[in-house]
Amino acid sequence: MQPVNPQLTRRRFIKGVIASGAVAGTTSLWYAANGQSRPAGAVERMIRLNVNGQDRTVDVAPQETLASTLRYKLGLTGTKLGCNRGECGACTVLVDDIPTYACSVLTHSFKNGRIETVEGLEAPDGTLHPVQQGFVDALGPQCGYCTPGQVMAAVGLLRANPNPTREEARMGLAGNICRCGSYDSYLDGVMRAAEIG
């Protein structure tokens, strides 16, 4: 089977994490992101990020993850932290259209990237994105904690492959865990979103 998004492979993702210097799986990193005590050294702290189409200037610590920046600096709490170690996908956002685990990458890696979170999908008039509407129609979410990540993974998938088969959708969302087990309903939602287009 062909990758759903040829730009996104597990190897590429892991290489990206390594390149960014993030160390997934350490709780100290996650909590360290909230501290300000470490000197900035040579790293510029005030950086500009493009988030949901807006340029935002943020004070970012060198070791800060994108998830921490989004949630605790920019107030975008739709990005959830389920595991904070690159296992569950609840923190999935899009960086240049590619689904990315925000808990496992450093914010400094994306100074030139186009970051999209679940908050950026609705139209200004409140119209839901087709994926959001598809998930509502299919009642994809159960507890909802993984939903923003599922939504962003599905948006990334449909941008790369607007008319996926159900199997392709399953592969495309495979990096997102749902402990409620709502996979079937999420897939119904993705297929519905593809119809709505």
């Binding site: 709780t27 100290s28 996650w30 909590y31 360290a32 992101a33 909230n34 501290g35 300000q36 005590s37 949630r71 975008l76 709490t77 739709g78 990005t79 959830k80 932290l81 389920g82 595991c83 904070n84 170690r85 296992e87 569950c88 609840a90 679940v118 908050e119 999908l121 609705e122 839901l128 959001q132 998930f135 509502v136 299919a138 009642l139 994809g140 979410p141 159960q142 507890c143 909802g144 904690y145 993984c146 939903t147 923003p148 939504v151 159900r166 199997e167 399953r170 592969m171 969302l173 495979a174 997102n176 865990i177 749902c178 402990r179 409620c180 087990g181 996979y183 079937d184 309903s185 897939l187």
Partner: protein, 813 residues
């Protein structure tokens, strides 16, 4: 019956917030001046804290203070096994010893690293059989079991343990212990005698304990304002949990505002306050520091204090008469009760066999033994689901031996309306298992697929499985409140938690149904307890749809009765002369004579008294509801109701059929097809029911194939603290499509005919999948859940995977 709302899909009010990210979980809140708490947890599985030196930490810049067990329990820690807020007597790795609050989490962690805790190491044990053996270590200082007499020590002789480990039947006098250690139904000896010409199976089994791993860690934020505690937390059951949490924290119920708009997954361990006392830490720390306190919980901490399923090591003997009737079942289970107490899973497993298979004689014996592993308790079908994958393959080998179809042997043994079950012989409120079996078989084309059974294609072989699930699915005795203001909108006050089932909304629709209200004219009032919400039952045990449709229905009926009284008093005639329709109460004889709901609500507020909750409240209202009602009194037209106890056992049943293709060269298999059918009374919310069926299916696959609970035997360190190690099922572990359906026949003990479903939906899938694996391997019974790939390949290779029989319930394979 034609309903306006029942049985129809709708958009639950919170789903938009879930797809947009707007809905807030506890960790999403912030408050000015908020500080951050982190936990110092036990690094060893069993110890006693001798000394805490936090002087260096407290002197660090940005540190505000610590909270210890001595502070939260000034009169000494409770002498019980349950989870504590903080403890000086840890009985598992990761148990919280103290909390420290600082300006940020990095500072808090750095300060915690500077704290010196002196522990006295105590003996620990990971396998209940090691503890049962004479001279073996105990998980607690006082013993290895806990009951009404406090801590006690349960021991077997070395020979008894060795024999049990080898898979032999326990002796007739094998010591039993636990919450419910024994029961007996019918004549066991006669049952097995009747099976002499039929089929008798005897063997040992193991099932894994594994953690909940809810997606949302159980973070909480708290602050105090004007003498009230505001606690942002997580819960399956809003008011039931808040009611008991007030006691754990030590705050008056009327002074606790529990805020919980959404919960990121609850599968048993967020139903009751006793299973989530960690929320008291930020509450007490905030009280001490007079600052808002956020305590985020990590995935590893969630594993430790988040609860887990009990693991079983058991022995079972089952007899079938020549006609396929299960005439006797003798079962003995040694349960792993973990480091903080647990439940009566093994009893529930035997109870389930009695009900699901209508077994003529059942004897249950068990020993529930503590170990220094994660705490155990409620988890999606506790007992019923562990036994489902064990018993289903036994049904199949019996069917093959007796020359019956595997569908027919289940029909022969199925529960129907009028049947009884369990040690008390409790009647079922209704039961339609034969219909569910037939519906599943038809939807799956069971008979048609039988020709593919065990068919080979290269290295791959087809296996078919059918399984059943059961859980008691309904309670009563709770309260309901509905309100209506001068705008005529119906406000349904719901204390039901929002854990992802949408039951808070689905059950509210029973009130709309009674009042014939358009759904867009209804508001569900919930999310925080200062919205004045009635008490509910803890939302475990698949009970919500049954329990809370009763209360919502009753409160709405009370409002209708009051509407008719008011109309009769103002417009003439008797209340019985009136009916309701299209948001009006009107005379039956002349529909033009009546009042709109808005008018009758306005009139109710003018009249006051019982119409606005200021008088004649039901005497039996729960204390929590009394507080809510007293605060609502006089504000609007009120319908209020206390639900009396129902009779008998409302069951939730499911049936699943599945087909797998197992590769004999790799031991791996793919689930090609799956159909799950619910038998849960009238369907209230089809999409919600479908979600419970498919969600339970994923859990069933985890139980039968994947999920583990591993500990390092040398140091007692948990090794499955994350999703990957625990191996929660992903998209790729589950079928690309799961078909669902339901029987949809009403239950007489519920006003809209509904019963619950959440838990059996896991059991039937686990049973069907295990049966399919057994089928693909020519009827080989592993007697285990999960059955891992290694176990399958060992079996195929002729390696005796059973050689490790009962070595450790979670380490098998």
């Amino acid at each position: 019956m034609a309903y306006m709302h029942i049985g129809k899909d709708f958009v639950p009010p919170d789903v938009i917030g879930k797809v947009t990210g707007r809905i807030k979980y506890a960790e999403d809140y912030t408050r000015e001046g908020m500080v951050y708490a982190r936990l110092l947890t036990s690094p060893i599985p069993h110890a006693r804290v001798l000394d805490i030196d936090a002087s260096e930490a407290l002197a660090m810049e940005g540190v505000f203070g610590i909270l210890t067990a001595d502070e939260v329990y000034p009169d000494g820690e409770p002498q019980s096994t349950g989870l504590k807020i903080l403890t000086n007597e840890p009985t598992l790795v990761g148990e919280p010893i103290l909390a420290l609050a600082a300006v940020d989490e990095k500072t808090a962690e750095s300060a915690i690293a500077a704290i010196n805790v002196t522990f006295e190491r105590l003996p620990f044990v990971l396998d209940p059989l090691d503890s049962l053996q004479e001279g073996g270590p105990n998980a607690f200082v006082g013993g290895n079991t806990f009951g009404q007499q406090g801590f006690t020590e349960a021991k077997w002789s070395s020979d008894q343990v060795a024999s049990f480990r080898a898979g032999n039947a326990p002796a007739e006098d094998a010591p039993t212990t636990g919450p419910i250690p024994t029961f007996s139904i019918g004549d066991l000896e006669a049952g097995f005698a009747a099976a002499e010409d039929g089929f008798v199976y005897e063997g040992s089994f193991t099932t894994a304990g594994y953690p909940h791993h809810s997606m949302e860690p159980r973070s909480a934020m708290a602050y105090w304002e004007d003498g009230k505690l505001y606690l942002h937390g997580t819960s399956q059951s809003l008011t039931a949990l808040a009611n008991d949490m007030a006691g754990i924290i030590g705050v008056a119920k009327e002074d606790l505002v529990f805020i919980n708009a959404a919960t990121g997954g609850g599968f048993g361990q967020r139903a009751r306050a006793g299973s989530i006392p960690s929320m008291a830490i930020p509450a007490k720390m905030s009280q001490k520091l007079n600052r808002p306190v956020m305590m985020r919980i990590t995935r590893e901490e969630e594993f430790t204090i988040g609860g887990a399923r009990q693991g079983f090591q058991g022995w079972i003997k089952v007899g079938f008469r020549p006609d396929g009737v299960m005439s006797a079942c003798d079962i003995f289970v040694v349960s792993d009760n973990g480091g903080k107490g647990g439940g009566a899973d093994a009893f529930s497993a035997a109870d389930c066999i009695s009900i699901l298979y209508q077994t003529e004689a059942v004897r249950f014996r068990g020993a529930s033994v503590a170990t220094n592993t994660a705490h155990r308790g409620a988890q999606r079908g506790p007992g019923q689901n562990q036994i489902a994958p064990i018993i289903s393959p036994i049904m199949d080998v019996a069917a093959d031996a007796l020359g019956m179809s595997r569908l027919d042997i289940r029909v022969v043994n199925s529960a129907q309306t009028g049947d009884v079950g369990g040690p008390q012989g409790t009647p079922l409120t209704s039961a339609y298992m034969p219909e569910a079996l037939r519906q599943a078989a038809d939807a799956f084309d069971w008979e048609g697929r039988e020709t593919r059974r065990r068919q080979r294609s290269g290295s791959k072989v087809t296996g078919l499985g059918i399984g059943q699930g059961y859980h008691n699915a309904g309670r009563s005795g709770m309260d309901g409140i509905v309100m209506m203001g001068a705008d005529g909108r119906l406000k349904i006050h719901s204390g039901v938690g929002n854990l992802g089932t949408y039951s808070y909304a689905a059950t509210s629709r029973a009130a709309a149904e009674v009042l014939k209200m358009p759904w867009d004219r209804c508001d569900i009032v919930t999310g925080r307890t200062d919205n004045h919400l009635p008490i509910t039952s803890p939302q475990d045990g698949s009970n919500s749809i049954f329990t809370n449709t009763r209360t919502c229905y009753g409160a709405a009926m009370d409002m209708v009765a009051k509407m008719k009284e008011i109309a009769a008093a103002d417009l003439g005639g008797e209340p019985a002369d009136y009916d309701i329709s299209e948001e009006r109460v009107h005379q039956i004889a002349d529909g033009s004579v009546g009042m709109t709901y808005a008018e009758v609500a306005q009139r109710a507020m003018e009249l006051g008294g019982k119409y606005t909750g200021e008088a004649e409240l039901p005497e039996e209202l729960h204390e929590w509801t009394q507080i809510a009602a007293s605060r609502l009194a006089g504000s609007a037209f009120m319908g209020i109701y206390h639900d009396p106890a129902h009779s008998n056992n409302p069951p939730g049943f499911t049936v699943t059929c599945t087909e797998i293709e197992l590769d004999l060269e790799t031991g791996k298999y793919e689930i090609l097809d799956m159909v799950s059918i619910g038998e849960c009374g009238t369907v209230v919310h089809p999409q919600g029911l479908k979600n419970q069926l498919v969600g339970g299916a994923v859990w069933g696959i985890g139980l039968s194939a994947l999920e583990r609970h591993l500990y390092d035997p040398q140091n007692g360190l948990p090794a499955s603290t994350g999703y990957w190690q625990s191996k929660v099922p992903t998209y790729l572990d589950t079928p690309v499509k799961i078909d669902t359906g339901w029987v949809d026949l009403p239950d007489p003990e519920n006003p809209v005919g509904a019963r619950g479903i959440g838990e059996p939906s896991q059991g039937s899938v686990s049973a069907a999948l295990t049966a399919a694996i057994t089928d693909a391997l020519d009827g080989h019974i592993f007697g285990a859940a999960p059955i891992t790939t290694d176990m399958i390949i060992n079996h195929i290779a002729g390696t005796q995977e059973d050689a490790v029989a009962l070595a450790q319930n979670n380490f098998r394979g």
